[in-house]
């Protein structure tokens, strides 16, 4: 029986007000080149809409890029909404301009990993492959 292999699905979005999207577009292309299906939801997404889209698209990973601050509030809200929707199995990742001292707080909220500005694309790809693999095995 020929059963199609499920591809890793990732939703990438930019909550909040920051306008730059060069960084996130580079990540989106790297994930595509690694064979993943990437839903790109553009800029200015509300946390509510990101979580709803993540659910509709049945993604493994929700990645958000935050460059203009507010990451603590946004990520706390995203993690809370995922739990409220019983969708905490979707892996939440954050990237962008994030001070190192905030990383433990973000992780305490439920962000699985943080990729600060300048993180290597290969590392992001590899991390997503790893967590999606764990998810598939679960």
């Amino acid at each position: 029986m020929s059963t199609a292999q499920r591809r890793i699905r990732v939703l990438m979005g930019k909550p909040g007000l920051c306008g730059h999207d060069r960084g996130i577009v580079l990540v989106v292309m790297a994930l595509r080149d690694a064979g993943m299906e990437v839903i790109y939801s553009g800029r200015h997404n509300s946390p509510e809409s990101l979580v709803e889209v993540a659910i509709q698209e049945d993604v493994d990973v929700l990645g958000v890029s935050i460059l203009a601050g507010g990451h603590l509030g946004l990520c706390e809200r995203l993690a809370k909404l995922l739990r409220e929707r019983n969708a905490q199995d979707i892996v939440l990742l954050a990237g962008g301009f994030i001070p190192p001292e905030d990383i433990p707080k973000l992780k305490a909220f439920g962000v699985r990993e943080v990729f600060r500005d300048g993180a290597k694309l290969e590392d992001i790809v590899q991390f997503i492959e790893q967590v999606a693999g764990e998810r598939a095995a679960a």
């Binding site: 059963t3 199609a4 690694a34 553009g42 709803e52 598939a136």
Partner: protein, 319 residues
């Protein structure tokens, strides 16, 4: 029979019928990937199908399809209808990955309760793209969506085939592409029930409409005559008229309960059967088929008779 997140097919079917969004979303993944759970879900929802009207929207990249879908969602929600969307984008031929960006243009409906939007990549469906799309459409149909819109890029045979399966087929022609031939070459004008001239706020839209009318006038007069509707999604021109034309087709009986799902299954059959037949008829070693070719060439038998006979031969696994 569970899947990676522990749901059984029965759980999913119950969730789909309740309209639970996580169930719908995961069921779509299961049927798209043709898992055992996915097949069981499809089997169990069959008797809940046939209510939705299926709309296919196709056209060149950048023609304005996604923006139009967004405008149509708004229009139909306003008419009290619920709308499911399947947005198909091409996969990369190199990595098999895909960037699915159609829903950026539909963002304002992301949180609408009576809307469900799902992005689908073209690659990796062992049973073919059309079959995968029909399976996804079935899940949305069972979930009770009144209209289901499938957006595909009108290039490549498999994409055009998807539009063909729809009850109502819309081909979007943007102004200023200059090459009217493009649309004819792809053969997509032939499948249209409704031709949309998009971006009607642009000055070149007049010329595009004239070109289309001319092309239709020089076709075989017995061919189906599609309606032409001018639309601007950004200036909100023609959206009401387009929705009216779509509704008019529903009133003709297209997409009525119990009819729609069988009709699309038949069209899927027709495509798959034609593809199967083509593959076999062109590759099979058969003296009988060779003899038939000679008979047609000599004028001993006409083409239609010969085709029927050839089909019979191929189905009997001819020698």
């Amino acid at each position: 029979m569970g899947d990676r997140l522990g749901g059984s097919a029965d759980d999913y079917v119950a969730g789909i019928l309740r309209g639970d969004r996580r169930s719908i979303a995961r069921a779509i993944s299961a049927v798209e990937n043709e898992t055992a759970t996915g097949r069981a879900i499809l089997r169990n929802i069959q008797r809940h199908l046939g209510r939705a009207q299926l709309i296919g929207i196709t056209g060149a990249p950048g023609a304005g399809k996604s923006t139009l879908v967004s405008a149509l969602i708004g229009e139909f929600l306003g008419r009290g209808r619920s709308v499911g969307v399947v947005a198909v984008d091409p996969s990369s031929p190199f990595s098999g990955g895909a960037i699915l960006g159609d829903r950026i243009r539909m963002e304002r409906h992301s949180l609408a309760e009576r809307t469900f939007i799902r992005s689908l990549a073209t690659r990796g469906h062992s049973g073919g793209l059309s079959r995968a799309v029909v399976a996804v459409v079935d899940v949305l149909d069972a979930a009770g969506f009144d209209l289901i819109i499938v957006e595909t890029v009108g290039v490549g045979q498999s994409e055009v085939e998807i539009a063909e399966i729809a009850d109502t087929r819309i081909v979007v022609c943007p102004p200023g592409l200059g090459d009217d031939v493009q649309a004819i070459k792809a053969g997509i004008l032939e499948i249209a029930d409704i031709l949309v001239v998009s971006k009607a706020d642009l000055p070149l839209a007049d010329k595009t409409e004239l070109d289309l009318r001319f092309m239709l006038s020089v076709r075989d007069p017995s061919a189906r005559q599609p309606a032409i509707v001018r639309v601007s999604s950004v200036a909100s021109i023609g959206i009401t008229e387009l929705a009216d034309s779509i509704d008019a087709r529903r009133d003709l009986g297209v997409g009525k309960r119990g009819i729609g799902s069988r009709a699309r299954m038949r069209r899927l059959f027709a495509q798959e059967a034609a593809n199967l037949l083509r593959r076999r008829m062109t590759s099979i070693e058969s003296p009988a088929l060779d003899a038939l070719c000679d008979a047609v060439a000599c004028g001993d038998i006409d083409h239609e008779q010969a085709s029927l006979q050839a089909m019979r031969l191929v189905m009997e696994g001819c020698r």
